[in-house]
C-alpha cells in the first residue's frame, strides 16, 4: 500500500496532471454519495466473481484431464500452454470481435485469460497428492464420493486458495480492460470516461475504490476463509468441529 501512496505523492509534487492526495481525498465523500457509481461497482464485482468461478471450473477440469494424461491430456496441455501466452489485450480485442459489445464477451475474456493459470496451480496440487492416503482409503473401502470428500478435495484446498488469490487480482485487471474495450459499463468504463474527459480526480477516486475492494476481499474474505479451511496446519489449536 505504501508504494502506490509514495508514487502518488511524488507524482503530485513533480507533475501538474497528478492531483494532490489531500484534494482527491476531500472529494471522496461527495463521490461516494453519488448514486450512479454503485451499480457500476456492483456490475464489475459481479463480473469478476462470475468469471473467476467459470475460470476455476474450467481450470479444475483442465487440470484433471492433464493429470489423467493420454491423448486428451496432451491436447489440453498444449491448449493451456497456448492460452498462457496470449496477452490480455489481444484476448479482450478478440472477444470484442466475437461477442461485439455483449456481456458474454467480458466473461469470455476473463475466463479464457485466467483459467490456464488456475489449471497449472491445481495440476501441481493433483501431482502432489499423497498416494499413501489414497491407499489408506482403498484399504478401508471408502466409496469414491467419500474418497473425494475426505482425501482428494481437502488436499486441493491450499492449491485452490493459491489459484483464487493469484487469479483474483488478475481477473480484476482483465475485467477492467474488457470493460474499456468491450462494454460501456462497469468500473473500467467509468475509469476510461473520467480519463477521456481529463477528470483526473475522478480517475484517481476510481483507482482508490479499486484498491479498497481488492484489499477488503483479501483481508476480510480470502484470508479468514483460508485460515479457517487450513486451521489443521496452524498453531495447533483444537478443532472447532
Amino acid at each position: 500500500m505504501s508504494v502506490p501512496i509514495l508514487l502518488w505523492w511524488i507524482g503530485s509534487h513533480t507533475t501538474t496532471f497528478v492531483p494532490p492526495m489531500g484534494e482527491v481525498l476531500r472529494k471522496m465523500p461527495e463521490f461516494l454519495s453519488e448514486e450512479d457509481i454503485w451499480p457500476d461497482v456492483l456490475l464489475t464485482v459481479q463480473r469478476v466473481a462470475g468469471s473467476l468461478m467459470i475460470a476455476l471450473s474450467l481450470g479444475f477440469g483442465a487440470a484433471y484431464v492433464m493429470h489423467k494424461g493420454g491423448l486428451w491430456g496432451r491436447v489440453v496441455d498444449r491448449y493451456v500452454g497456448l492460452m498462457l501466452g496470449i496477452p490480455s489485450t489481444i484476448a479482450a480485442l478478440l472477444s470484442l470481435y466475437i461477442f461485439k459489445r455483449s456481456e458474454l464477451g467480458v466473461y469470455f475474456v476473463v475466463s479464457i485469460v485466467t483459467f490456464p493459470f488456475v489449471a497449472l496451480t491445481l495440476l501441481q496440487g493433483l501431482r502432489a497428492a499423497d498416494r499413501r492416503l489414497d491407499e489408506m482409503g482403498d484399504v478401508y473401502r471408502l466409496p469414491t464420493s467419500q474418497h473425494a470428500r475426505h482425501i482428494s478435495a481437502p488436499h486441493l484446498v491450499p492449491y485452490t486458495f493459491a489459484a483464487i488469490r493469484n487469479e483474483y487480482a488478475h481477473a480484476w485487471k482483465v475485467v477492467v480492460l474488457a470493460e474499456l474495450f468491450a462494454v460501456n459499463s462497469g468500473m473500467g468504463a467509468r475509469f476510461a470516461r473520467a480519463f477521456d474527459r481529463f477528470r483526473i480526480d475522478d480517475a484517481m477516486l476510481w483507482l482508490i475504490i479499486f484498491m479498497i475492494i481488492l484489499l477488503a476481499t483479501e483481508y476480510l474474505l480470502l484470508l479468514p476463509s483460508e485460515r479457517r479451511a487450513l486451521r489443521w496446519r496452524g498453531s495447533g489449536k483444537e478443532a472447532l468441529l
Binding site: R141, L142, P143, W232
Partner: protein, 266 residues
C-alpha cells in the same frame, strides 16, 4: 464357540506389481481365527506386498486369498470382509481430527452414527488417548498418532487386523510400550492379527506363530511356534534363546551365509 483353523487361507499366491518382477511367489499360509501371527522377513522381501494382497488393494496374478471362507474383495465401497490396517506410518488425514479420522472409516463400514460415537470413545479410551479426541493429528507425537491409527483399525471390529511394521518409526522406548499395549489389547479383543516385522525379537514378543519368509520374492521359508507364556517380558531369556536360534536358522536363507547358486559374486 469353535474357532476356524483356516480363518485366513492363502494358497499358491503370486503377486507382481509390474507383471514381470515377482514380489510374492507361490506363497501358502493359514492363520487360525483369533490367532496372533507375525510375518518375519528381511527388508524388501515382499512382506508389505503380501499384506496389500490380503487387504485387497493389490490384485494377485494367481492364487487364493480367503478370509472367513470369503474371497477378499477389492475396490472402493466393497465391504465383504472388513479389514483393519495399521501402516508403517500413521496415514491419518491431517485435515480431520482424531475422532473424524476414525468416524470416516466407520461410516464407510456402514456403522450407524450413534454407534460411531460409542466406538470412538471406547477405542480411544482403550488406547489411552481420549483427551486427544478433537485434536488435529499434526499436534500429536509419533506414538500418539500410531495409537490413533491402531484405534481406527480396531474400531471397525474387523475380521482381521493387518499391521505393517507399525512401530518401526518410533523410538525404542515408545515402541516397547506400544508392543506391550498391543499384546494386552489382542488378549482382550481376541481378534485375528497379522503383524509384519523385520525384527525377530518383536515377532517373538508379540506372536503365537511366526511365518518366516524367504528373502524375496516372498514365500514361506518356515513356520515357528512361540511356546512362551503370556504376559511376556521383552527381555525374557527364553525369547533371547529363540531369537538366537532363528538368527542361525535364517542366516543362509537371508543371504548372510554361504553364497547360493545364482547369487551375484560381486
Amino acid at each position: 464357540m469353535s474357532r476356524t483353523a483356516e480363518y485366513i487361507r492363502i494358497v499358491g499366491l503370486n503377486v507382481s506389481y509390474d507383471g514381470i518382477t515377482p514380489a510374492v511367489s507361490n506363497l501358502d499360509m493359514q492363520v487360525a481365527e483369533g490367532d496372533f501371527v507375525a510375518v518375519l522377513g528381511p527388508s524388501g522381501c515382499g512382506k508389505s506386498t503380501l499384506l496389500h494382497a490380503i487387504s485387497g488393494v493389490v490384485l494377485p496374478q494367481s492364487g487364493i486369498i480367503e478370509i472367513a471362507g470369503q474371497p477378499v474383495g477389492t475396490g472402493r465401497g466393497d465391504q465383504s470382509v472388513p479389514i483393519g490396517y495399521v501402516f508403517q506410518e500413521h496415514r491419518l488425514l491431517p485435515w480431520r481430527t482424531v475422532a473424524q479420522n476414525i468416524a470416516i472409516v466407520l461410516r464407510a463400514a456402514g456403522i450407524s452414527d450413534e454407534e460411531i460415537d460409542l466406538r470412538i470413545d471406547r477405542y480411544l479410551e482403550m488406547l489411552h488417548i481420549s483427551e486427544y479426541r478433537d485434536t488435529w493429528p499434526l499436534r500429536l507425537s509419533g506414538g500418539q498418532r500410531q495409537r490413533v491409527s491402531i484405534a481406527r483399525a480396531l474400531a471397525i471390529q474387523p475380521a482381521v487386523v493387518l499391521m505393517d511394521e507399525p512401530f518401526s518409526t518410533l523410538d525404542e522406548v515408545t515402541a516397547r510400550v506400544m508392543r506391550q499395549q498391543l499384546a494386552e489389547l489382542w488378549q482382550e479383543s481376541g481378534q485375528t492379527l497379522v503383524f509384519v516385522t523385520h525384527s525377530i525379537r518383536e515377532a517373538l514378543f508379540l506372536a503365537n506363530r511366526i511365518f518366516i519368509l524367504t528373502r524375496g520374492p516372498a514365500s514361506v521359508f518356515d513356520v515357528v511356534d512361540v511356546p512362551v507364556a503370556r504376559p511376556r517380558r521383552y527381555e525374557d531369556p527364553q525369547l533371547t534363546e529363540l531369537e538366537a536360534q532363528i538368527v542361525e536358522h535364517v542366516m543362509d536363507e537371508w543371504g548372510y551365509g554361504q553364497p547360493r547358486a545364482g547369487d551375484d559374486d560381486a
